[in-house]
């Protein structure tokens, strides 16, 4: 608690006593568990600005104009990297410029009192969103400030948000955080823990996403957490996305049970499209609407929303709230209808589960039965290999692409131990892709997949959607 002066304001006993007084409807874990038991999908936006006043205005807009069920305390990127002096400077410059120059709330700099002002100003529960491998001080201040949830994971964030941090260190930091949250539980204060299953957000093959989203709750349960939420980013392929969310819940349940954590409650989160968004606001709204349909028909408990400003910049409170409202409208019209299990969804679900189990079992072997050690060694061995990771510890041999219907497949899988039937499934699905006009440059072909949903709409016989796929033959041969 000594890395920034406000850390000294944190008195754990006082914080627990304060949290005991927070009304139940402002508790994130209790809200999520209630939604799970009633089969409801809750809408949850992201968002953060530099000052306490701006943050309060944002949360009120999300709650009142957006109809958000759950609220965010998204931190800025200096805070995420414990660069609190730079956060202080950014905060001062934001105040004098009259607009936020920070991309989130520097909650450590605001201290416990500042965070309490924010969480007390609204009626919905708030969770700290802080893409970081060093969550400790931010969690201490955030939880003491009345936040009742914390997003993050030692494998996922270290591989997606850092360059130089060893995976073992990221895992250790999150074990500390999970232990802190378990302490609150033991004192009668439920704290929602959740891992960011979207990883780099960039065409993550769902089997790999599921595997990581199973190890992180196993580590959390090992620290004494009785409840955990896991998620995946959407690929915008309805069949594969719904199948993947089902596989996530089933495989995660199965492993928790197998390794002695059968009583841990589990909830599922679906993140609306996490990669390149269309700049056109109408197209962006389409992406958000499909995302709501995926979450709703998969029957997940949380859907994390985006806004139509996604491609350009952090949305204003109004535009952010509109993304939540758009999502709530779709969820409401679906009336808790679930996508029926047709053979295609069933096959996809089996493939995702088989891939996840193969990665999990290899990781466990590598760790001689210890999941933390297994995760570290699995990353070293490229068994866990996150596409587009900025970390120098990530193998970087796996490369994803899309098939004809937009499902994510491996163009190359490196050392990820894909079972033969999964490998064959991916290969045959990729082979269905039509030739199309192919660019000679690898950069342009990769970019075409990464930006497929952002392409201008030009009628069904034009280069629309993912129908005009480029030829991947030589990439596959590499």
């Amino acid at each position: 608690m000594a890395r920034w002066p406000t850390g000294r304001e944190v008195d754990l006993d006082e914080a627990v006593a304060y949290q005991r007084g927070v009304p139940r409807h402002r508790n994130f874990a209790l809200t999520v568990l209630r939604a799970k038991s009633e089969g409801i999908t809750l809408a949850q936006p992201r968002g953060g600005f530099a000052t306490v006043e701006e943050q309060i205005a944002l949360l009120k807009a999300l709650q009142d104009q957006g109809g958000a069920d759950l609220l965010p305390l998204t931190t800025d990127s200096y805070t995420r990297n414990e660069r609190f002096a730079e956060a202080e400077k950014g905060l001062a410059e934001s105040v004098s410029a009259g607009r936020s120059l920070l991309n989130g709330l520097p909650l450590v700099n605001h201290g416990v009192k500042g965070v309490r002002r924010v969480t007390e100003a609204v009626e919905k529960p708030a969770m700290v969103l802080s893409g970081t491998s060093r969550p400790c001080l931010t969690a201490e201040v955030g939880l003491a400030g009345g936040a009742t949830g914390f997003l993050g994971g030692g494998i996922s964030y270290t591989l997606s948000y850092t360059k130089e941090l060893p995976i073992a260190e990221g895992i250790r930091n999150y074990q500390y955080l999970d232990r802190l949250c378990a302490h609150y539980w033991e004192q009668g204060v439920p704290i929602h823990r959740e891992q960011p299953g979207f990883l780099t957000g960039t065409l993550i093959p769902p089997g790999l996403g599921v595997a990581i989203a199973v190890i992180e709750p196993l580590l959390g349960a090992g620290q004494g957490l009785p409840h955990y939420s896991v998620g995946l980013g959407q690929a915008l392929c309805l069949a594969q996305d719904v199948a993947a969310l089902r596989a996530l819940e089933n495989v995660c349940r199965e492993y928790l049970q197998r390794f002695g954590f059968g009583t841990t409650t589990l909830t599922i989160a679906s993140h609306q499209w996490m990669a390149n968004f269309p700049q056109d606001e109408a197209q962006a709204a389409g992406v958000i609407a499909l995302g709501a349909a995926i979450a709703g028909t998969a029957g997940v408990t949380q859907v994390i929303t985006k806004s139509v400003h996604e491609a350009l910049g952090i949305p204003s409170p109004e535009v952010n709230a509109a993304g939540v409202r758009l999502t709530q409208q779709v969820l409401r019209m679906l009336e808790r209808w679930r996508l029926p299990l047709d053979p295609e969804v069933e096959t996809e679900e089996a493939m995702v589960a088989a891939e996840a189990r193969a990665i999990l079992d290899r990781a466990r072997d590598l760790g001689d039965g210890d999941w933390a050690r297994g995760a570290v060694r699995a990353v070293e061995a490229g068994v866990i290999d996150v596409p587009w990771s900025p970390s120098r510890f990530n193998a970087g041999k796996a490369l994803p692409g899309r098939d004809r219907f937009g499902a994510v497949r491996y163009l190359a899988h490196g050392d990820i131990p894909l079972p033969p039937e999964v490998r064959e499934h991916h290969r045959s699905k990729l082979a269905e892709r039509s030739g199309g006009a192919s660019s000679g440059m690898v950069s342009e072909r990769l970019l075409a997949d990464l930006t497929a949903v952002s392409r201008p709409v030009s009628g069904n016989f034009g280069p629309d959607g993912w129908r005009d796929f480029k030829d991947y033959a030589d990439l596959l041969r590499r």
């Binding site: 990127s77 920070l102 910049g313």
Partner: protein, 147 residues
């Protein structure tokens, strides 16, 4: 002062400045530059101003291509030109691209702010890299490829 090589491949340094972890566009940019014949020195994410300067000296680079996606570029890029000046590379070609500021703002105004900071060129979100490469070739004078 270092002598600019008039022939031979052009060397450019790429990197994502500040505490920014967005690597995807930066890597695509690196690949596109390499495919266009440039020699690229990729520094990856979370690059400090000093690291850009150091890499420029060590590799005798012709240009620095700074990525900033996460909105705090307006804070991170302040004083970068001065750092190069202090190192005796005051005239090095500086380019910046990405989602440079927090929120959706008028591009002309954003561009003005970054040019005033000392960048030779600034590019808006989602820019076509063919245009970037064409303009880079023109700005550096002569083709990127040998001969």
């Amino acid at each position: 002062m270092r002598a600019r090589r008039r022939t031979g491949t052009r060397t450019v340094v790429t990197g994502v400045i500040g505490a920014d972890c967005h690597i995807v566009g930066n890597r695509i940019l690196q690949m596109a530059l390499e495919e266009a014949g440039f020699t690229v020195v990729p520094l990856g994410i979370m690059v400090a101003q000093e690291e850009f300067v150091k890499a420029a000296i060590e590799t005798n680079a012709d240009a620095i291509l700074v990525s900033s996606l996460y909105g705090q570029g307006e804070l991170d890029c302040q004083g970068l030109r001065d750092k190069f000046e202090e190192a005796g590379l005051g005239r090095i070609h500086l380019v910046v691209g990405g989602n440079l500021v927090v929120g959706k703002q008028e591009w002309a105004e954003v561009e003005r702010r970054f040019l005033a900071m000392g960048f030779d060129r600034a590019y808006p979100p989602g820019i076509d890299l063919r245009r970037v490469i064409e303009e880079l070739r023109r700005d550096l004078g002569g083709p990127a490829r040998d001969g």
